[in-house]
Chain length 143, copies 2
DNA sequence: TATATTGTGAAAATCACTTTCAACATGGAG
DNA sequence: CTCCATGTTGAAAGTGATTTTCACAATATA
């Protein structure tokens, strides 16, 4: 699966006439082996540990490319930081966010998605995307 | 209803040992008689028309107070601007956002809310708030 | 009304990106 | 393999939207 994403990104690079670079490879590896919801800053710091010479701007630009290529998606949880999550082919999910410890849990609910479509139809809207986030305390933090 | 919110805010001010000022009154009036989803900038500009002497920082701080007092709520639609919407006692709603013209439609759906609770329970979460936004084209923009 | 607090506005500071630019890589042409 | 037209980098400057600071003004008791 990491393999698959690497291929997707490589193909994207080629298709766009871009170049394959050492930095992009390193950032891709770090991204693929990271938490599913990393901010630019977090990934940047993680990278710096092993590669003191990679710049923030490069991480920033590369994550944008990941999103463009389809292997990542930008998300915002309202904490002022843009995060990038891994995208699994054809899969969609929403999030449960713990307001105390920051834990993020993903979930899917077909019925909710259907109801959203109904709501949209009722109002004449054609949905392109949606965002559903449930904020609260996770099991651990409730105690 | 405007009356009620004014009272809530006045009580909040008193409770917190804050002061009632001309600016706060003016900003509250402008907020209550405005669109349901105003950004700080928008409200600021609207105010400047009649009150050239009110500062941006004051509008910013006052809107925060509104949110704290419970008569307003901060929302983000991912366009980089924080907006403030009116909060009706005990009411909750979600949003349909037109990605072309920016129109915002509010809706409520009891069934979706219930399902959200179920999802949360399944994962051991205790929900405090949630955010559901459907992005797409409104009726007008679809044509 | 005296005065201890709080509020205000202009300007400076933050934050989280974004863009610029000179110095470096890449990869297809020859 | 060597060129070199293009892309890519990293440091630093620029942006846009807040946030905070600070000197002066307005409030609300005592």
């Amino acid at each position: 699966m990491k393999r698959a994403k690497k291929k997707i990104f490589r193909d994207f690079i080629t298709l766009k006439g871009l170049k394959s670079t050492r930095q992009r490879d390193i950032i891709l590896d770090a991204f693929l082996s990271s938490d599913r919801h990393m901010s630019i800053e977090e990934l940047y710091l993680k990278l710096r540990a092993k590669n003191p010479n990679i710049g923030y701007a490069t991480v920033y630009r590369t994550l944008k490319l990941f999103a463009e290529s389809g292997i990542a998606r930008e998300i915002q949880f309202g904490d002022g930081q843009t995060r990038y999550e891994h995208v699994a082919e054809g899969e969609h999910h929403d999030h449960l966010v713990c307001t105390r410890c920051g834990t993020i849990v993903e979930f899917e609910n077909e019925t909710i998605e259907k109801l959203q479509q109904e709501v949209a139809s009722t109002h004449g809207f054609l949905i392109e995307t949606h965002k559903l986030e449930l904020y609260g305390l996770c099991e651990k933090c409730r105690k």
